[in-house]
Each structure stands twice: as structure tokens, then as C-alpha cells.
Amino acid sequence: MTRWTELTDANARAAFAAYFAKVDRALAALPRAEAEEIKRELEQHALDAVSEAGDAQAALAQLGDPDDFLSDLVADKLRARAARTFSPVDVAAALARSAGAGLAGLALSTLVGLGYVVAAFSIVMGATKLFDPDGAGVYRLPDGRIFVGFGETLGGVDVMGIWFSPLAIAAGALIYLALTWAFGRATFLKVAKR
């Protein structure tokens, strides 16, 4: 048997229909081909279990709740995709999904999200300096402290001048690339409770 729709027992078909509707919802964030491949694999697993045990409900219970085990898988795949494409859209999707995949995922997303804020801040400061030389930079203040940021220079001396601009943009881009690469390799698989 290759598809659950070929099951002859109406109750078994209903159980499979409900289960795989849940699987579809859990995989909705993935590209269609990728989601379909995972679904086919799970379907074959469940059909093998039915052939062995003869009970659709038991076979599906043995496989587990798709919301539990697929959230990790989807988050993992979205992070890997973000690390392949480096697209901000893919990064945002991966951050959002990982944040919803348990406490470890939320902690990771928060940490990485803060890193992206720093990267964005650095790039915006660099770009600002290009158009407004006094708008951002690294300043040594009269009391000796170093100030990095926008706006008022508080009477400080601009330490880097226009070099701040390319360096801040490059640092921001580097942080973005390194974070995205590392985020794609992060893993925190949990074994769901039975």
C-alpha cells in the first residue's frame, strides 16, 4: 500500500485523514516539495505500522503528535535554508519558527535576534555617516570615554573620521553572515515525552 487513501477500513481512513491534515498544517512553513517528501515518509511509516499492528489508531499514536516532533524538524530546516540563502526573509522565518519551538528555541532566537539588531545598528550607523559626517561615529569624549553611536557628539573628537562608514558597514555585514551561518548549524533536538 502506498497511500492512506487506499485503506479499506473507513475508521482507519478517517484517522489518517485527521492525522495528515495536522501534518500538513505543521509543515506549512516549508516549500511544497520538501513538505511533501516528509509527508510521504511519515505516511509510509504509518502504513508499515498498520500492516504490522493492524490498528490505525495505534500506529498513528506510536508515530506521535505531529505538532510535537515536526516543530523541531521545520525549525531546523528553516534555519538550514536561511544559512544557505542568507536572505533576510528566510532568516526572519527561521527566527520566528525557532522562537516557537520550545524554551531552547526561544532563547536561541532571542540571542540571535539581538545579534541581528547589533548588525543592523552597525550598518545604519555606517550608512548615516556617508550622508551626514557628523551623524554617527566613534567619538572620544572630553572625559576620556569612548562613545559609539548617532547624533550628538557631546563635544567629543571623531576618532575614525569617514573610515567609520565602510568599517561599520563591513562589521554589520560580517556579523549578519556569521550569525546566519551559525544559526543554520544550531541544533536543540528534544526527544518528546511519551
Binding site: L42, D48, Q62, D68, F69, T187, L189, V191, A192, R194
Partner: protein, 111 residues
Amino acid sequence: MLDEAVLDWEKRWRKAVLPFAALAVLGESPKHGYALATSLRDLLGAAAPEGTLYPLLNGFERDGLTVAEWAIQETGPARKTYALTDRGRTVLKQGVERWAVFSTSLEGLIE
């Protein structure tokens, strides 16, 4: 009758060794998900819902420990089959060596 605490430990041990055991089972021969789940069930009992294996297998593949391909069967549908890579075999070998050290020291303690 086993104490609850011991039953709880046993559950935790089974879950903890699941990735290592899955890699070891794949080290015997390439397998599809259900065959892997069946072997693990025979080894460890019902350590976790079987769907949990798929994120694990995805992680193995991402980390270069396994490769997966859809194998055409003589009878029945095509199945996604997982096999260890050279890196997977190296990691398994190292895992087995470390497990032997761990197991020996623990046996020394409880004997």
C-alpha cells in the same frame, strides 16, 4: 516491582542513548525510517514516539553523518533510505570507544 525512580531513570537512559543507538543501527546496514524504528524498539523498547526519529535523521543528514536516497523497492513503494557516510562511521567508531570507557568505569563502580 521496580521503584518509580528507577523506572524514570530507565526512561531517561533510553532517550539519552537514542541518537547513538540510531547511528549504531544504521551502521549495521542502511535503513528506512520504519525499519530503523523497529530495530530501535527491539533494542530500547518504546523510548520515544517514533516520529521523533525524523528530526534526528534530518540532523544526521545536515551534519554529514548520513546520506539519504529514495530507494526503489522490488515490491511496494519507494522508500527514503538512510546510510552512514564516512564521517558517520568515524563518529560511530569514536562513540563506541567512548561508550566502552564510560561503561567500564560505571561497571567498576557498581560491581
